[in-house]
């Protein structure tokens, strides 16, 4: 195809897209706010890493946080999962047409390469590069849970997480249900085990 034809077609797109561009304003970065947040983070880190473990007898707490994703108004929206609280989720699709629910958690080490694991019925059969409609963040690991369609809702599954710093293995048991307005996900329970390194 000639770019000329593409350019002409681009000129025919609905004016609402052009309006979106002309009215677009990037979120302004307030320098003072950035400094204040940075200062607050330092205080938080000092308290968490230094004082709290000291008071708690050096028993390190895990920082595992699981995020779910829903598609709202043509954009992916993040929901932080808390045990017992339902959040909306949506089906996402891979380039190869695999459909599933997406969850993410922060990488434990910054040196690790961010990845998307496919999960089916408790197994992790592969890794993919992209989930359509989702902007991947480089500091996270993603899991695409592909339910077995024949089984039907609700779906139960478990996402494992190894927290080397806290020397723990966390099993996160999830439930995905179908509702009138779509789908919801909830952490039913979390189990922590001490990590045994052989």
């Amino acid at each position: 195809m000639k770019s000329e034809k593409f350019s002409n077609a681009l000129g025919e797109i609905d004016v609402k897209y052009v309006e979106e561009v002309v009215s677009y304003k990037a979120a302004k970065k307030n320098k003072w706010l950035v400094w204040q947040i940075a200062a607050a983070c330092i205080v938080f880190v000092v308290l968490t890493v230094g004082i709290v473990p000291f008071l708690m007898g050096n028993d390190e707490e895990s920082v595992f946080v699981l995020t779910a994703y829903a598609y709202e108004n043509n954009a992916a929206v993040e929901y932080e999962l808390v045990v017992g609280e339902k959040v909306p989720v949506s089906y996402f699709e891979t380039e190869n047409g695999l459909k599933g629910f997406v969850f993410s958690h922060a990488k434990e080490k910054t040196s690790e390469i961010s990845s998307i694991s496919i999960m089916t019925e408790g197994e992790m059969p592969g890794v993919i590069d992209e989930i359509v409609g989702l902007e991947l963040e480089t500091d996270k690991h993603y899991t695409l849970y592909v339910p077995e369609q024949s089984k039907g809702f609700p779906y139960n599954f478990m996402i494992p997480y190894t927290d080397e710093a806290a020397n723990k293995v966390i099993f996160c048991y999830l439930l995905v249900e179908e509702t009138e307005n779509g789908y919801t996900a909830v952490i039913e329970r979390m189990e922590e085990f001490e990590r045994i390194v052989k």
Binding site: M1, K2, S3, E4, K5, F6, S7, N8, A9, L10, G11, E12, I13, D14, V15, K16, Y17, V18, E19, E20, V21, V22, S23, Y24, A26, A27, K28, K29, N74, A75, A76, E95, V132, G133, E135
Partner: protein, 186 residues
């Protein structure tokens, strides 16, 4: 400067003040849009003036939601017409560079895409744009609709030029796959 609604009212009242107010408010944006395509101040100026005439002839009856977007569209179309007329001349505008990027992305040996109508292609492009995040849509259209430079886009969106370049490469790749999936490209 008058607000858009007031300027549109002046157009409806057939007051030539409408053109002056429109130029005061958005003249620079229109000029830049045209200049990005033509790379020539005089040509850009003439195209913007032609676009003002086009606006005068279409408002009324049209009452655009966004005066800026509406006139920008006229400016772009007129500028492109002139561009194609002068195509044999030196190729050095931002528009040329942006189109060369697209040429590589849209390359195909098939003739299927030749049969597709411009309007049909526009609808497919719209559905592709809907799959992008708002920020990526703005970046893509700033580059290929407004022919803005990487540095202009970086400034507007608040990211680095390198990020703009990486994002555009990803969007072009995604678009190619989207068009292949819909058999626009083979």
């Amino acid at each position: 400067m008058l607000a858009d609604e007031k300027i549109i009212e002046l157009f409806f009242a057939r007051s030539e003040q409408a053109i002056r107010e429109l130029d005061d408010r958005y003249g620079k944006v229109f000029h830049k849009t045209s200049f990005n395509i033509l790379n020539n101040q005089l040509d850009a100026e003439e195209c913007v003036n032609d676009a003002y005439l086009g606006t005068w002839n279409t408002i009324p009856p049209t009452k655009p939601n966004s005066l800026l977007a509406y006139v920008c569209q006229i400016v772009r179309n007129i500028s492109l017409k002139r561009y194609y007329l002068k195509k044999a001349l030196k190729r050095n505008s931002t528009y040329d560079v942006a189109m060369e990027e697209l040429d590589a992305c849209l390359a195909s040996s098939s003739t299927v895409e030749d049969e597709i109508e411009t309007k049909e292609l526009a609808r497919i492009i719209e559905s592709f744009l809907d799959t992008l995040s708002k920020e990526n849509r703005v970046i893509f259209l700033q580059r290929y609709w407004f022919s803005d430079s990487y540095s202009d886009i970086a400034q507007k969106v608040g990211i680095s030029e390198k990020s703009v370049s990486v994002r555009l490469a990803r969007i072009r790749k995604k678009m190619r796959e989207y068009l292949v999936e819909r058999e626009v490209l083979v």
